[in-house]
């Protein structure tokens, strides 16, 4: 009697343990960052307070822009609300590593020292930029090499600051640099003619030029003195979360390749015969489960932000004040560098 009861208990425990096993397995496999985002119900995404084209406030006081759209895509993929956290250049890495934000999408250049020394994990490059110079049209110069002896304003703590010094040494030019901690102060000083030119990522300074009283008075010189691959960033130590962010970005690129847009994604997710899209939208395979996401994650992400082309054209393209060409940021089969690995 006692023995049977005891055996019964053992059997029940064993059964429970068996049932709990996959559960426990799923627990260890899930990303802790994703878990805390889901339990909190919001994704905290760090952006700059104001960076025309990449992150700015619209008339209703909401953040919009190229970077913000990638935050939106990730938040939608995780099925949570997006909370945009404005950060300065100096605050951003400590905020990310200290887990105040879950990711950064703030025109951050990927470099080796940032990869290894700062505890950062870069997502795929969303924008291939290069550093250039803006100067006044009335200076009548055609090349940055004619800037010899000029004063250049540069923003503190950016890769531009180092690239400028490297480029000067490589070309044996003598320039005076004035280093500003805040972008606003820099632009004011440039407008007051404290410096002859200012330097930064070309896409970024193209955005800044739109803020001037008469943008036509300022030109972007043709020299591109650096490679500036801009990418969102996550903190090191949660590979799964980093991969989720990476593949959300890839999903927007795959969507552009396959002409999936925010408008038609729901339809296509439902009845596309394309095997890659069926895998992407959770109709076949188990990739979503291995990611720790539900099958509709990619559909939601593209519905929220659109595909890569839509994100680009909405914020930076010909119809925006920045009027940027796709250039290096075209798809790989159109002469650009945007290339998502296969979704299989």
């Amino acid at each position: 009697m006692y023995t049977t009861r005891w055996l019964g208990k053992l059997a029940t425990t064993f059964a429970f343990a068996l049932c709990a096993l996959p559960e426990a397995y799923a627990q260890t496999a899930q990303s802790p960052t994703l878990a805390s985002i889901v339990s909190r119900g919001t994704l905290n995404c760090g952006v700059y307070p104001n960076f025309p084209g990449f992150e700015t406030l619209d008339r209703d006081g909401n953040y919009v822009g190229f970077d913000v759209d990638f935050c939106k895509a990730v938040a939608a993929a995780a099925n949570v609300q997006l909370k945009v956290v404005p950060l300065t250049a100096t605050e951003r890495f400590p905020a990310l590593v200290g887990k105040s934000v879950d990711m950064l999408a703030m025109v951050t250049t990927r470099t080796a020292s940032r990869d290894f020394g700062n505890g950062l994990q870069f997502a795929p490059v969303t924008f291939y930029d290069g550093q250039g110079f803006v100067t006044r049209t009335k200076n009548k110069i055609k090349s940055a090499k004619e800037l010899s002896g000029a004063t250049i304003c540069v923003l503190q703590g950016t890769t531009s600051e180092l690239n400028l010094a490297d480029w000067l040494r490589a070309n044996s030019l003598k320039l005076n640099a004035v280093t500003f901690a805040s972008e606003d102060e820099l632009l004011r000083a440039y407008e007051a003619n404290r410096c002859d030119a200012f330097t930064g990522g070309i896409a970024i300074i193209a955005g800044r030029r739109t803020n001037f009283r008469d943008p036509a008075e300022h030109i972007i010189l043709p020299e591109v003195i650096s490679k500036e691959p801009l990418a969102p960033v996550t903190a090191e130590g949660d590979e799964k979360w980093s991969k989720i962010v990476a593949w959300t970005i890839f999903a927007t690129m795959i969507a552009e390749e396959k002409d999936v847009t925010a408008a038609n994604v729901e339809q296509i997710a439902k009845d596309s015969p394309d095997p890659e899209l069926r895998r992407l939208f959770g109709k076949s395979g188990s990739i979503a489960r291995d990611m720790g996401m539900d099958p509709d994650w990619a559909m939601r992400a593209i519905k929220a932000a659109g595909n890569y082309r839509e994100i680009f054209e909405r914020n930076l393209g010909a119809k925006t004040p920045l009027r940027l060409e796709r250039g290096l940021n075209a798809q790989w089969d159109k002469g650009g560098l945007i290339y998502a690995p296969p979704f299989r």
């Binding site: 940032r114 290894f116 004063t151 304003c153 490297d166 005076n176 102060e185 004011r188 404290r194």
Partner: protein
């Protein structure tokens, strides 16, 4: 055992030991925790990065010492000297200390002089190390702090004395100016001066010129500088001869003769100098020495703000001198200025110096506001270093140590000065 515990000395020592252990454990745990977390997040620690090439441009590069070992030696000797002076003072009543004290003074001064003579001074280049960059920032901070303290003291004293003037216009304009400057935050002062300089002075192509020698535009005030003296034997003879005779004349009380001779000697010397004149070349004015708008704006802001407080301190100091003292001075036949200089100010200083030293400390630390207007002070440079290296804790620690050193030196100097103005024997 119980008896031992009842002993108040033993009990107190045990409490102290426990408290010290607790604090030490907290500090250790905090450090351990920080190191573990940094390691877990893949952030490298330590000060090795300081010797790496900095690679960024700094707009203002005052000379920095190249051999830090000798500077440390000089600082150590100075510290020893000060300690010796304090100890000497403390025990001078117990036994005669004078001979050894004098010996230690001479020895320490000799060590300091020799050590400083070994140091070569360089200017930061982008090829320099992160340490050089930080030292350049520190050097900028010290320059502004020193000029600020001296300038604010002079302006503050003048404004304070004006506030007590019998002249209605002088008194009231001084009061209004002090009140205005005191009631505006320092950051606004600095931003105001920066915006004023940038927008008031002409752009570089339309620079203003004084006698074709000094150029002014919104990129700076450009002055001609002497780069070298072409000294031959005749000028050496003339100059040294003039200087010796001038010194002799001064010793024998012939002030006017001495002055004229000194002027003549310096005129001869200057006539042999080769000058570097600023001139417009391409985009900028090159040559000469430049005072840049960032430096000027920060200095003006600090001067305006802190001299207003110093003026108030001076007023309170002068008012603390009993009116009877001033009346007594006048009745002795002293005129206004001598009465002020000999009777009022020495007594007022006792009240003035302690709060004045606080102003100096505040001013030295407030130089960090230069960050807002692109002045490369210690904080400004450290932000770039922090950024490029990501070594937040190490860089902040260094910055704190540097500021501590600056503040401690100011506190020490003002304390020593304070002792000389206090009533003796107290």
């Amino acid at each position: 055992m119980m008896n031992l515990w009842r002993n108040p000395v033993v009990r107190a020592s045990v409490y102290q030991a426990v408290a010290i252990l607790a604090v030490a454990w907290l500090a250790y745990a905090g450090l351990r925790n920080a190191l573990d977390n940094l390691a877990a997040r893949g952030i490298s620690t330590g000060f090795r990065f300081l010797v790496n090439e900095a690679g960024f441009v700094i707009s203002e590069t005052p000379p920095i010492p190249q051999q830090l070992g000798w500077v440390a030696c000089a600082v150590g000797a100075a510290a020893l000297l000060i300690t010796a002076a304090y100890v000497g003072k403390r025990f001078s009543r117990l036994r005669p200390f004078a001979p050894s004290k004098r010996l230690s003074l001479v020895l320490s001064l000799a060590v300091i002089a020799v050590a400083l003579a070994q140091v070569e001074w360089t200017r930061y280049q982008p090829t320099g190390s992160y340490l050089d960059a930080l030292l350049t920032g520190l050097s900028n901070t010290i320059t502004v702090a020193l000029l600020g303290c001296v300038g604010a003291t002079v302006i503050g004293f003048v404004m304070g004395i004006f506030q007590l003037s019998t002249n209605w216009l002088l008194r009231n304009s001084a009061r209004v100016a002090t009140e205005l400057c005191r009631d505006i935050p320092l950051l606004v002062h600095v931003m105001f001066w920066y915006a004023t300089i940038l927008n008031f002075f002409p752009p570089v192509r339309e620079y203003m010129s004084v006698l074709g020698l000094v150029h002014i535009c919104n990129r700076g005030l450009y002055l001609p500088v002497i780069t070298d003296f072409k000294i031959d034997q005749i000028t050496t003879l003339l100059v040294t001869g003039g200087a010796v005779v001038a010194l002799a004349a001064a010793v024998f009380g012939r002030t006017k003769l001495s002055l004229i001779l000194a002027l003549l000697a310096s005129a001869v010397l200057i006539s042999t100098a080769s000058w570097d004149f600023p001139e417009l070349q391409g985009f900028n004015i090159v040559g000469g020495a430049a005072i840049r708008p960032e430096f000027a704006a920060l200095l003006f802001g600090l001067l305006a703000y802190h001299s207003a407080f110093i003026a108030d301190i001076v007023v309170s100091g002068i008012k603390s001198v009993p009116i009877g003292q001033i009346e007594a001075a006048y009745s002795l036949g002293l005129r206004r200025l001598p009465a002020l200089r000999l009777v009022v100010i020495p007594q007022a200083l006792r009240v003035v110096v302690p709060p004045l030293s606080l102003q100096y400390l505040g001013l030295a630390k407030n130089t960090s506001i230069g960050v807002a207007i692109a002045f490369p002070d210690l904080v400004g440079v450290s932000r770039t270093v922090l950024y490029q290296t990501g070594q937040a804790i190490e860089v902040m620690l260094l910055v704190m140590v540097f500021y501590l050193a600056v503040s401690f030196s100011i506190a020490l100097a003002t304390n020593m000065f304070n002792q000389t103005v206090q009533i003796k024997g107290w």
